[in-house]
Amino acid sequence: MSPYMLSLLTSIAIFAILSLSLSLLIGHMGIFSMAHAALFGVGAYTYAFLSVKQDWSPLAATAAAIVLAAAAGAVMAVPALRVSGDYFIVASFALQIVASSVFSNWTSVTGGTGGIPGIVRPVFGPIDLFQDQPFLVYSFIVLLIVAALGFWLVRSPFGRMMHTIRDDEVVAATMGKPVRGTKILVTVLAGAFAGLAGVVYGQYLMYISPGSFEVATSVSIITMVVVGGMTSILGSIIGAAIITVIPPLLQEIRLAESVAGPLEQAFFGLLLVVLMFTRPQGLLADKPHRRPRSAGTQAAAQEASHVA
């Protein structure tokens, strides 16, 4: 496999983790976050700072990165969700802008606009991830784990509760579901996954800088979720693949540096607008669950019409 292909697939894997985790929040919980790139960055910077500048072990630094990213999610969620989803949009947008500013300005910790170089890829016993091929496998394993966790969560009663709250909060409350607590919990989980993606990203590039974690990135991730289908795990992965492939495709058309970035962004914006008119639910959608009854009860059901 060519280095170019390896690089593309690794990017897809990492952004699929971001897209998947955001779909939990946007698609399954119905909460709009503009801060996913910020949480991605919190994870990346925490890992980079602790492992490079403070000599922490990769495992400890990863744990810290996940916890801090989750905490950042909680910081914006707890006050905002007491009120409404609109407050959350504001809080998340503000967090994103503040985070970008902090990444660029807190030079002593984040290295400012220069970023943090010298991130080392992890070593698992005899397996060294310095080569791009094993690293790709590692990225996909992380993606698979996150996807499995997400899938499990969504199909569980907790997932059903999320969907109930998403679609009708009043009914959810009337059925005894903890509305605010669930929303905050999902925001924290989404943040944790974004933080994990940040760790893998830093390990991959072995260097991070503020430019990767700006509003534009948050918009890209949102576009991935919308394109692939907000409520489909597989869809968010496909969405990530599609959106990740576009910038390199655009580079085929020989454009000036300064135009390529904005053009890409403008294209994503246009895609969002067009999708809202043509197919707002995205490529793939979640189907209603059948939930069959257990074998033994089938016969009993034929007779009884009484509720115990």
Partner: protein, 251 residues
């Protein structure tokens, strides 16, 4: 009295929707809540379930003051309701809609989902089986239970919402206009389900326009007019009263 509402009042801006309403719901009986449109019946309902806060007055359930309790706390205590406009979750399957009503599901806690998978799965299957029983009770056929709730007819959706209420295993059932909008054939099926339900000795507060149905199903009824409790009596006596008939048909 399982439920006691005392001097409950509610304002919307300058408009007083409920004025000092006082009445009780005896345990094991079916109490009707009747009155013309706009009398404040649904508002009163919402105050009992905690969906709307009371501006004045108290709500007491099973001897405990629940006036400031959240809707979640109230359903945990045993108060369940249906909605006048049904309010199923159209994107979820029929069976999932009923499962939503089941209380205290371990699988609704993330820690159980990930760290106690076997127990969660077993409990979920019990929840699903129970939900199926509730659907058996109201007569929704097996083949549609995997479909999205939005694909069902209005009458079927109303039945599913009763099943959802049953799933909560509530002690006090609040039914908000359960037969409104139903055509003749659905109405018959519904009446049969209601009758079956009520024969099991649940405590019920039933908002209904159809006075004949109220007479058939309720032991007594509370007559609400422009936000005030005008009378509490058996349905027959209420129907005989000229004063009340004026309020009802004059409105």
């Amino acid at each position: 009295m399982l439920l006691e509402v005392e001097n409950a009042s509610k304002w919307f801006g300058g408009l007083q929707a409920v004025k000092g309403a006082t009445f009780g719901v005896p345990e094991g009986q079916v109490t009707g809540l009747v009155g013309p449109n706009g009398a404040g019946k649904t508002t009163l309902f919402n105050m009992i379930t905690g969906t709307l806060p009371t501006d004045e007055g108290t709500v007491t359930y099973n001897g405990t003051d629940i006036t400031s309790a959240s809707p979640q706390d109230r359903v945990a205590a045993g108060i369940g309701r249906t909605f006048q406009d049904v309010r199923l979750l159209p994107r979820l399957s029929v069976i999932d809609n009923v499962c939503v009503g089941v209380q205290k599901q371990p699988g609704e806690r993330v820690r159980n989902v990930f760290f106690r998978p076997a127990k969660s799965r077993a409990e979920e299957q019990r929840t699903v089986d129970f939900a199926h029983e509730c659907l058996d009770f109201v007569g929704i056929p097996e083949q549609v239970r995997g479909q999205s709730a939005g694909s069902l007819s209005y009458g079927e959706q109303k039945l599913v919402s009763i099943a959802r209420l049953l799933a909560t295993r509530s002690k006090l059932l609040l039914l908000d206009e359960p037969t409104s909008g139903l055509d003749e054939s659905s109405l018959d099926q519904f009446r049969a389900v209601l009758a079956k339900l009520l024969s099991e000795g649940h405590t019920v507060l039933l908002v209904e326009h159809n006075m004949l149905l109220v007479r058939e199903l309720c032991h007594r009824a509370v007559f609400l007019g422009t936000g005030e409790v005008l009378a509490v009596d058996t349905p027959e006596k209420l129907m005989e009263s000229e004063v009340l008939r004026d309020v009802y048909f004059g409105a």
